[in-house]
Symmetry: D5
Subunit: 160 residues, 10 copies
């Protein structure tokens, strides 16, 4: 992560610590998913004007300047070594080992296209398994984007 | 993918084509998730004896020899270039960009630990969004594995 | 490129050679962009039923079996060494060196979001520069995809 | 990006913020493409003496020293992790997946050669699609460079 | 290793140096394995409340603030160049060269599954070989995690 | 793995399948560790003349030619993609995340040196944990190799 | 190198062996540089119609079919491991170690721009050094390409 | 580039700026090639005592301490990202695409051996092409190093 | 190289400069090989108590604190870009190109095993070749480590 | 290794097996170092006409055709995975960990320059250590190549 982004993220996370609230609590107060709250605090998502006032109410130590920063389109990024973290590696392992199967089923159910990672929701939930043990449920919910047929109905650039 | 594994996978997928059934239909007949059916056919999961008969019923062109092969622990693998496929890249992008947030929430909800990728369920579903458009919902559901404190209650190896 | 895909692509390109037509001529006959025609012949795009008959008319040596193959969702891929080709490297160089600027302008003109690579058109055109020399004009035209705010209006998976 | 380059770029972008103008506005005042304006401010392009006065008029907070810096040939560079940014990855994905097709069409239309990335124009535009939704149009316009036949009409180095 | 983590680890290791105790001595006083003690001091493992008081007794120079830090879930990481160290490379060499054999035997003894790296113990011991020379014995002891069959007994997300 | 090595390994493993014995059973008959048996069959270890007759007794389908092959020093190797296999990745994860700690303890217990990966034993065992569940115990047991001080007591090469 | 390209290159080089001529001899007969002759035979350059008859005269075993192949725009490529070859590594070493200096001098002598690798000549010559020993002289001679200022004199694509 | 090397290089280049001379002018005054002058100023080459006084005369702002630094064998290095710079990439592209041809011709003209990158001259020159346009001519001139046959005429090390 | 290690190495090398002695002179005074002296000063080897007093006599500016540091087991490391240095690349080239041959001869002369890099001597010497020119002789002298047969004479860990 | 090279190497090594001689025996009969003999048989070195007859005498099963092949300049190469082999990795480890020290001593003893890897001898020998155990001695003996000062005494290419 670039130096200046890291500094801002620390200030965001500090406001959360001072508020003494969990991601789930902030999610409830703002009407967002818990993951989206975390993404906002890590400068990986943009804050809309409508939600800004709710977030300021939830995190009173967030200065107006920091809220303004959160409302600009971020440069999305990650440290490539992040994949070393077992919690994150397991997700990557699942995606790569299940990838072809997931694509096959999307194609069969929807046709030729992909799940959008932009018009996309994510949440992390805690459920009980049949053995009574805790389970982590991560939901990826993205708009289906069909490949478009590229018809030649546009006129290309030319010089004046 | 190694040569011999590719040959077997082609035979598995051919049995599905001959049966003329979707992954969802086979899932319903076998009581499995649709992704697990696809993983079996790609030799990325093991078939249990209880499910073997149901799968044979669902895919009549699957020879006994192929079913036996499916009941051995597979060598799980993927072609590293698979990440070029847009459908699979989007999943990887989501995991890497959302990774730290997901870990933060797991830690907050469950404590120090990870979502298992072994005691793990995955399914792909089709839902309608509020705009009436199709959405892809991918569910990752894994047992929470807490890190254990390594207490020194075992005796180490020594020579006789 | 995987072995079997390479074989099919050779058959597609052979049908074009036998027809003795350029990409532009086939584009005109099918109503597609010239790049989309090339993508179809390289098994990087899917053929729609409406266009199939036009393509068969344009490329009479294309067997029905090959046309059927073209109508399945392809596994999109490329040889990583392709970037060695100077014609392709120059494109990559432009994208990487201009990348931040392009993102800045998209953000300023459209807000937080990206150009889709799925709902996406591409064409290659030949124009004359002010010095009378030939210029290559490559047009990338993709739908703007705004990042969605992830509101918590969906209910997560739970066991029955 | 190297330390000293990053510092200068921040000063350039600060002059733009103080002027309160968009890339398009500066482009109109200077007669440049919007992307070229952004490249100048990111120290990825050189400023010509003719345009310098127009840019100074457009961005009054740009000191003479900074303008002088902008008139030296830059070291062109990018952070390899930039490809993580979805807006930039999509461009790269398009280039790599469409690369062979684009080369084929260039060869068919122009002969053996490439699109120059040096005598090269780029712009980002906002258009409406047939569904009334916004689309991003990125135009790459480069001189065609034919491969030269290397005839042996020059005399090589020798010692005096 | 990230800057701030390195600073904390230096403070942890300094507390050990001031106490003048070996990893084995601290292990004995805390009831942990020697490797787990080292992992705690390198911020690669979490300290439980039960063990915290024992560790504070063993390492009196450890401030309460540092102990609190040790009780948060850590970001697990390593410098990729660590593999250059001969002591660590030899372990990696053994794992990669023996990997397929170890998997084969796990599959034969336990069925389809893996050794957990989370519910996992590790210790380093010193024994005498038959030639009277010192030998290093490293014990990896992890819970067996069987792959689960993914039965379709859960209901997926849908919108309200 | 190189082509010819893969062919021989298949013949070795086929002899095991025909004998219908587990690695543990062959280990017991030959007096070797179970991992060493597997390494022999994967052409990653050398067979000694003393053990050859025991192995031939244990695996009667092993031809004399194959036994001769097993008695030559092998080219030790592995497919770099092997690390994708979860069973093997977990080992690698443990080694890399625990690496510095293991080195610290070796240095404290033994002084400056490493665990040999050549004069090295490995075994895989099945034990019951305190919760009655199966655990995998992998033992790495290598000679301690102290770094030698390089005293200048040898005379270097010179021409006659 | 791709399979089919390797086969054609072998046929080209075979025609040279049968003719029993050196690259220099063929260069003299065709009026090309010696390096360009070699590039033609390795399918890394295109043959012009004017030169085709001279090359056929120089290499009588070159079939018309092979000559036709040589007249198509090639896919330019190289095996990344080629850099292992000491003769080629030394060139790469020189380019990377001298790179910044060469750029500095080009910028000082010519302004902001690059040496074209497309309108480009290369030859290898043998000269005597002042010590009477053989020296290899490699000449790179490319057109200077100045960066163009991107003026906004073109109209972008729009839909009809 | 390492921190301390970068600082020294900046001081060298500053002395050149203060002298207000081009690389070619300094080359003329010192009797060196223009590239060697640049390499000296980038701490990639060593200054000989004979040339030191000429360089001091040419660059009066070069302190004695800096000249002393220039007379020590440097650690030769480059930033791997340097290859992003189009001016440097084009050189690398030429070397890799022409590599096999250059080797073939060296072997044919000189026998088995390479061009030295140590006893090596390099210069950058500006010439006019037949179309009257500027061309960059880069000359690599290195001693031919024949591979030696390794005859066994030396006696190896043994202990006293 | 990590920050703190680099600082210590600079202090070590400074003590050498102040003493005004060559590696060979220090080697003679301490009874070590010249390479081992250099490794000590680069914090890549450990200093024994017996040699410490000799080294202090040879390098009087070495403080007691620095000598103590030198007597701790070091973290052995190198900058991966070090391979760019021609002097070091040539060694790597030799090792990789001659590697299989060296292994073959070790196997033929000694049996299955390797040359230890731990019980290992290295020296650099200057000799005259038959042509009277200087030659560099680098001697690698390591203990032969035979692979051990892993007999099952140890008892594994189990819980009490 | 490329396919055709591997085939020839197998034929070379087969001739050695049929002769039933060691590398040392062939070295003695041909007057070469043992490593050079192995390099010839692995197609990594060129055979001189003077030595050809001795080699044919030593290896009578070597056909004239194979000997002719050995007399052509080879394409020197290695499989990058070769570094996995412990015998070869140890050499690489030594070179990288000792690299800076070796360069320092070469610079101190010889001045600015490198050890040639072309005018280069290598041998593997077996000696007894002071503890009576076998040691491997690998000798690298290369001509010292001083960096040349690049004086501007040559005239560059120009057009006629």
């Amino acid at each position: 992560m670039e130096q200046s982004k890291a500094i801002i993220v620390n200030q965001f996370l500090s406001a959360k610590r001072k508020a003494g609230k969990t991601f789930n609590e902030i999610a409830k107060e703002t009407g967002l998913t818990n993951v989206y709250v975390a993404q906002l605090l890590r400068r990986q998502a943009i804050l809309t004007p409508e939600t800004a006032s709710k977030l300021k109410a939830a995190l009173p130590h967030l200065s107006d300047e920091l809220v303004d920063e959160m409302m600009k389109p971020p440069m999305r990024s990650y440290d490539p070594n992040l994949i070393q973290e077992p919690a994150i590696y397991r997700l990557n392992e699942a995606v790569m080992h299940f990838g072809e199967s997931i694509k096959d089923i999307i194609n069969e159910q929807f046709g030729d296209g992909i799940m959008s990672a932009i018009d996309f929701y994510c949440s992390v939930d805690k459920v009980k398994g049949v053995d009574g043990k805790d389970r982590v449920v991560i939901t990826f919910d993205g708009k289906f984007l069909p490949y478009t047929e590229q018809v030649s109905t546009f006129v290309v650039a030319h010089y004046n």
